[in-house]
Amino acid sequence: MRRILSVLLENEPGSLSRVVGLFSQRGYNIDTLTVAPTEDQTLSRLTLTTHGNDRVIEQITKNLNKLIDVVKVVDLTEGPHIERELMLLKVKANDLQRAEIKRCVDIFRGQIVDVNAHAYTVQIVGNSDKLDAFIQAIGDADILELVRTGVSGLARGEKSLRL
């Protein structure tokens, strides 16, 4: 099953490599990974998506907690949560295609953030399924390049991951 893990991490040199190293060392999967400092500059917040059965996920969580630099770990997928991913893609947009792409972007509530005579750069925000669906939807268009930030997320309600 797909899981979203949120990790509060000491913002120290080498701490990210310990997290990433753990996954390769123990043969766990990382599907996406995002990391940046939080409002507290001493802490980074890392969101990663992974998949595995319950036993594997439990081991991943425990092993993350075991890392000295890790302050807290939560599995967002255990409760109601919000997840977002941002995608930028550059598509070929000539005469006829332009209107069709524009329509598609509107349907997905995306934005065209850069334009030139031959291409659009499109920004889509949403959960990963929505981004996948957009790629499907413009299937006929020529994608020149594409970048996704990976998932980040928060639990719904008042629950918060902090010190």
Partner: protein, 579 residues
Amino acid sequence: MELLSGGEIVVRALKDAGVKYLWGYPGGAALHIYDALFQQSDVQHILVRHEQAATHAADGHARSTGEVGAVLVTSGPGATNAITGIATAYMDSIPMVVISGQVPREKIGDDAFQETDMVGISRPIVKHSFLVKDATEIAATIAKAFFIAGSGRPGPVVVDIPKDVTAPNHRVPYEYPEKIKIRSYQPTVKGHAGQIKRAIKTLLGAKRPVIYSGGGVVLGDASSQLIELARSLNAPVTNTLMGLGAYPGTDDQFIGMLGMHGTFEANTAMHHADVILAVGARFDDRVTNTTDKFCPSAKIIHIDIDPTSISKTIAADIPIVGPCDRVLQELIDQLGCSDDSQDESAITEWWTQINEWRDRHGIYTKPRHDASEGNIIKPQDVIRSLFNVTGGDAFVTSDVGQHQMFAAQYYLFNKPRRWINSGGLGTMGFGLPAAMGVQLANPGADVACVTGEGSIQMCIQELSTCTQYGLPVKIINLNNQALGMVRQWQDMQYSSRYSSSIYEDSLPDFVKLAESYGHVGIKVTHFDELEEKMAECFSLKDRVVFMDICVDRSEHVYPMHVAPNGSMRDMWLSKTERT
């Protein structure tokens, strides 16, 4: 506040961390620290002959005392030579701090002379690591390193210090922190009360209980609690290779080691158990054999300080995270006030069954020697002789191979921290340097290194260190003229094709070799001189003695799990007999 240079701070912080002996080897990046060491006498530095030995010696110190071992090496090759010893300590959860010199800060990343990314290289085999960026950080970092290494589930910690940070001309205020607090690191100190209640109920309801105790009981100094609990439950106890000594080896309730080379009764009892109390053990693959077939009818209670050890390979029915001594004590206390009671007749019946297994295929209780085979020495008898001569009270370190398994099976350890071997990594070369660390930490004690002619040659240079520092360890070399454990597998699985497991007359004369370092060498070739020469060896209190004992080359270690696809109870009992 006192102003000290970075180099002086390293040494002073080591002293304040309680370090008496620092095992190491100098080199460019560490020279400022070495100069500071020279100018004081609180911390004694011991110069080994290879950095691997420094880590094993500090490891032996740690295992035999419970203190954190300390190592100092230089950058580059010094650091990489230490890696095997760090990995050895990591696999067995041994507390150790390794300080490595690093190239100066401004050269990091330039492929400078003797630069290696020590923090990167050691990352998967340390509990934690630090790169010190400023002289003002040294003391606090070393204090944290010792705290992390020695608390919770212990392990090695690397502190990498660039050379310019230790420079003598830059002096900063010295302050060793009185209390250490790390917000992201708080080891569990107490077991969960609800789980402990459930465990009590399950233990009292058991008809065929087994206590399976591991290295965590030794490391957690929980031996007395283990004994008390086992006595009050009248339950059989088996120890892992790492756990030997935590429960007295000569006690009636002890059914021997379990696992790949465990006793028939321990492995069979595990297989048939209805409740297994695993404490400070990690269901290692050398214990469980095929996990799908592991102990089919057992409910498993698992106590461990490290949550990641629980339900890693075998799912626990009642997990309890906490330090072994505390949790066992809570179990003992609550056992006394529980309303439930044991089914005593079931336990009696269980013991009848276990004793029958014991009598059927125990390990050899009489000498293995068979006069009809001539005067040849069986390796098992060497260990028994060692046990007799040392009154069962020696520190025994070991290398890796058949000799290690014979030592584990035949030296009956009655105290924890007496059996010192590389269980997790299985590092040949561990035995002699570990023995040096044990000897220095326990002056006057009998320290024996049980080894093989293969393993001893992996760190034999340390005979010289023994000379320099007067470390009178006794080397018991079970010389079977082969990489015996490899050859055993080749006999069993490769139709005796001895691919690179024999040396073709290239072995040194170990007696002369020992003598060349100023030690005593004794060669033993006949069974009837074994006991007498063993006694002579241990009568030479102040000397290093190298006992080169020619043993039966064809002997195998039994019992041995049938693998792959075997269960706990599937064993070879001899070359021709299996369960």
